[in-house]
């Protein structure tokens, strides 16, 4: 199974509480099944974020190599005076813990420092690239969710039928194809063999004079292939989860009861099955955000899409500490926020989560 595909801790509630309960505030089931309040959950996410920041900060610094050697000495060796000046400029001469403190306090002021490579403000660079990654990830997550949910429910509804068998085959294959292979295949097919789509970039340059609508269409046009690759990469997991969940939901007594009541198929699907499938699905969508962030790095690289990958990979290569750290922290914030939103939504939708 892929990183995003693990069955979540909050799977379809097979556990049911006995006995009457009074209405109570929201709470959350943790990975170990414990229930905690929302504040606890937010706390967990903050601790996670701190852990990521810390790892990302210390890891490159305790490894061999330093950015000044990697970047500035690539062309000509630095003399010791220049080197000292630069080290002081980037606080590299300070003890590690002091650097860490300075970095944390910078983050708290939303100041992510300057790149070592060009001395540009990191925040500015990220601000230029992040929207493209968000666009790519957002589109892919939305489209794959919509298709995965609809296809999964339909396949399960006619279980064992022709549609189900075909979808299952296609999705199983898709599940086994990594994004970068998908992306490369799409590139070969629709850029090389049949040149339908642009091979690189997110928008055609020098189009300022054209109208907004044109620009929008142009961005969409550039988005098609990368988004398709990432969407297909995310689809298999979702489809399989939705299909299996729906099948187990369809076997539940309440579905038989709903049919016995003469509920029309449309409402059976939407009101009775849909909401019960939606809950575990939501969790997987949340977990997939982390997976999509990784996949999007690959896809962006293949299509030379100007997202975070184009910042992060060179930064890693060059040991550009501030830029690299900022990229990771931004991705972590993105993923954690998405998960937090999922958790909060989950608690709203599932009456079983509300307890003492």
């Amino acid at each position: 199974m892929r990183p995003g595909g693990h069955a979540p801790g909050r799977t379809a509630g097979t556990q049911r509480d006995q006995g009457p309960r009074r209405r109570a505030k929201r709470s959350f089931r943790m990975a170990d099944g414990r229930r905690r309040g929302a504040a606890w959950r937010v706390g967990i996410y903050l601790v996670t974020l701190w852990a990521v920041v810390t790892v990302v900060f210390f890891l490159p610094r305790v490894m061999p190599g330093d950015p000044l050697t990697a970047i500035r000495e690539a062309n000509s060796p630095l003399n010791s005076e220049d080197r000292a000046i630069l080290e002081a400029h980037y606080n590299l001469d300070q003890p590690l813990l002091t650097q860490y403190g300075l970095y944390l306090s910078g983050l708290a002021r939303r100041d992510m420092g300057l790149t070592i490579g060009g001395g540009a403000p990191v925040g500015q660079l990220i601000w230029n690239r992040l929207p493209w990654t968000l666009l790519l990830m957002g589109t892919s997550l939305a489209v794959s969710s919509a298709i995965g949910f609809a296809a999964g429910v339909s396949a399960a509804w006619r279980r064992g039928g022709r549609v189900d068998r075909r979808l299952l085959t296609v999705m199983t294959v898709l599940h086994a194809v990594p994004e970068y292979v998908l992306a490369t295949a799409l590139l070969l097919l629709f850029v090389v063999r049949v040149p339908l789509f642009p091979s690189a970039g997110a928008a055609t340059p020098f189009t300022q004079s054209y109208g907004q609508l044109y620009k929008l269409a142009d961005v969409g046009y550039h988005l098609v292939l990368p988004a398709t690759a990432l969407t297909l990469g995310l689809l298999g997991t979702k489809f399989r989860l939705v299909r299996n969940t729906t099948i187990s939901v369809l076997g539940q007594n309440y579905m038989v009861a709903a049919r016995a009541k003469g509920v029309p198929e449309r409402l059976l699907k939407r009101r009775h099955a849909g909401r019960n499938v939606l809950l575990p699905f939501l969790t997987v969508v949340g977990l997939q955000v982390a997976f999509a962030a990784g996949g999007s790095m690959f896809v962006e690289t293949v299509f030379q899409y100007p997202g975070m990958a184009s910042l992060m990979l060179p930064a890693i290569e060059n040991l550009d500490f501030p830029l690299m750290e900022a990229c990771f922290v931004m991705l972590a914030i993105l993923v954690l926020t998405a998960n937090l939103i999922v958790d909060l939504t989950y608690a709203r939708l599932d009456p079983r989560v509300r307890t003492e």
Binding site: V56, A293, G294, M297, E317
Partner: protein, 294 residues
């Protein structure tokens, strides 16, 4: 458990049979790869890194998959790639499952604060973008394939750990385990005689999926140019092909780019098939039609 009416006896046997035969297909593919990888030194006609003047040649008797831009035999490179993939699959997949299973077993068995701490760590891991982290750590820990495998194992153990833990917890609630504790069985006895046999197949399924993930990650890293530079991998073949700007102006991609792509896809598919067959053994219900309960 359930009365007659509720038995899901209306099984769709054809689905079950199909899954089983797909499982065998997967096993055959994997076995072929293993044989190729083990016998590589005797099968290949060129060392994969040997440069020759025969560059950018199409498939021929001398070079079944042609050659690349610097005249390396692509067939030999593909076999070498299989060796890399399988090595990382076994090491990283095994490492993931060993770490994950041990942690999961201990957390599920000891419960209490051990469990609490472990599951918090798992929560942290699951909410972290691990792919970029893998690139970062892999880059700094060294690009050696063994290091990559180790880093994969260190990053991806929480998945199996959580699965194992919930299995152990549910096993603990079963009467025969309670009974065994009741007549004084110790932890070692319990784990060996009762827990491990019960979760054996689940471990196999976890191992298969961890292997697939490791192959995918290793080839991905190599494709991004941050793999082990001393080794040929399916990912690095893809990267070399992609870096050649003339690729798209000829048919070279057919024997240069497509074979590693297909190799990755079929290996992962094979692992998926075997995994599906194992899952069906674990949970036969998935292969059956449901019958509603009332």
């Amino acid at each position: 458990m359930t009365p007659l009416d509720d038995l899901s006896v209306a099984a769709n046997s054809s689905t079950g049979t199909r899954t089983r035969s797909l499982g065998w297909v997967g096993l055959v593919i994997i076995a072929t790869l293993v044989v190729l990888a083990l016998l590589a030194p005797w099968i290949r006609r060129y060392r994969p890194e040997t440069i020759s003047w025969d560059f950018l040649q199409g498939p021929s008797w001398r070079h079944p998959l042609g050659t690349n831009r610097i005249g390396q035999d692509l067939a030999s490179q593909m076999i070498e790639g299989a060796r890399s993939s399988l090595l990382v699959a076994v090491l990283a997949g095994g490492g993931t499952v060993v770490i994950g299973a041990s942690v999961g077993l201990i957390a599920g068995w000891r419960r209490g604060w051990v469990d609490l701490v472990v599951m918090r760590v798992v929560d942290v891991f699951l909410a972290t973008p691990r792919w970029p982290l893998l690139i970062l750590i892999g880059l700094y820990a060294g690009r050696d394939l063994l290091v990559v495998a180790a880093v994969i194992a260190l990053l991806f153990w929480p998945g199996p750990a959580r699965t194992l833990r919930s299995q152990v917890l549910s096993l603990r609630r079963r009467a025969h385990l309670k009974a065994a504790v009741g007549f004084g069985a110790g932890t070692v006895h319990m784990l060996r005689r009762h827990i491990v046999p019960e979760v054996g197949l689940i471990l196999v399924a976890q191992f298969l999926s961890a292997m697939g993930r490791a192959i995918m990650l290793e080839a991905g890293l190599a494709f991004m140019g941050i793999g082990d530079p001393s080794r040929t991998s399916w990912g690095s073949i893809m990267r070399d092909a992609g870096d050649y700007s003339g690729l798209i102006y000829s048919n070279a991609y057919l024997w240069w780019m497509v074979p590693p792509m297909l190799a990755i896809i079929f290996t992962l598919l094979a692992l998926t098939f075997v995994g599906m067959a194992v899952e069906q053994r674990i949970n036969p219900r998935l292969a059956r039609h449901h019958t509603g309960r009332a």
